[in-house]
Assembly symmetry: C2
Homo-oligomer: 113 residues x 2
């Protein structure tokens, strides 16, 4: 998984079926999709949004996911670096929440109409 730059999900390009995708734009969109294309990460996003105050810490996620703490931390890092989640640390806890509009940006790029 690419973890180098913080990817901005917003409007890398025109919708897929609007005009032919250049190599660079295809790389960008593929990188965003790759961050989403994992069952654990999809459930993480879903659980974060559904959680109280629309935020969740690592300890809220490990048990329902059935994954170890390092693994969950890894997935959260991928989602943060891809621009889908933000991290805010309070006391010893790290709270993650969804970046408004991030999912919709990707959604827009896939839509046909």
């Amino acid at each position: 998984m690419e973890l180098l730059p913080v990817i901005q999900v917003t409007a890398c390009c025109a919708p897929l079926t609007r005009e032919v995708l250049g190599a660079g734009a295809a790389d960008d969109l593929a990188r965003s999709l790759k961050a989403l294309a994992d069952p654990a990460r999809l459930r993480i996003i879903s659980m974060v949004v559904a959680h109280e105050n629309a935020e969740a810490c690592v300890c809220d996620l490990t048990a329902p996911l059935g994954l170890g703490q390092p693994t969950v931390s890894h997935h959260l890092k991928v989602l943060v670096e891809a621009g889908f989640l933000t991290r805010s640390k309070r006391a010893t806890w790290a709270y993650y929440s969804l970046v408004p509009g991030a999912l919709d940006s990707v959604s827009t790029l896939l839509v046909t109409a």
Copy 2:
């Protein structure tokens, strides 16, 4: 890449942020997204749609993609088995075209509103 069943992209579940995703639904959606999460495959979809009659054969794609014929055939197979493209063989050519609504189904599952 999982190539087992022909995945139906249509409505595996409620939108990501609507209710918490179960393990099975997360697997399904992740499988669809994985099929899309590759630069070459994104460009293939884009090029197929933009091509004359909204269909293209393998020979139309290899040169602009800069990939070998077996590699392009592989990507096309992934997209067909994921339910995004259909294949229709005429003479010695295999014409691929976008399944109507397939991209929009995924798009709908990602949207926040």
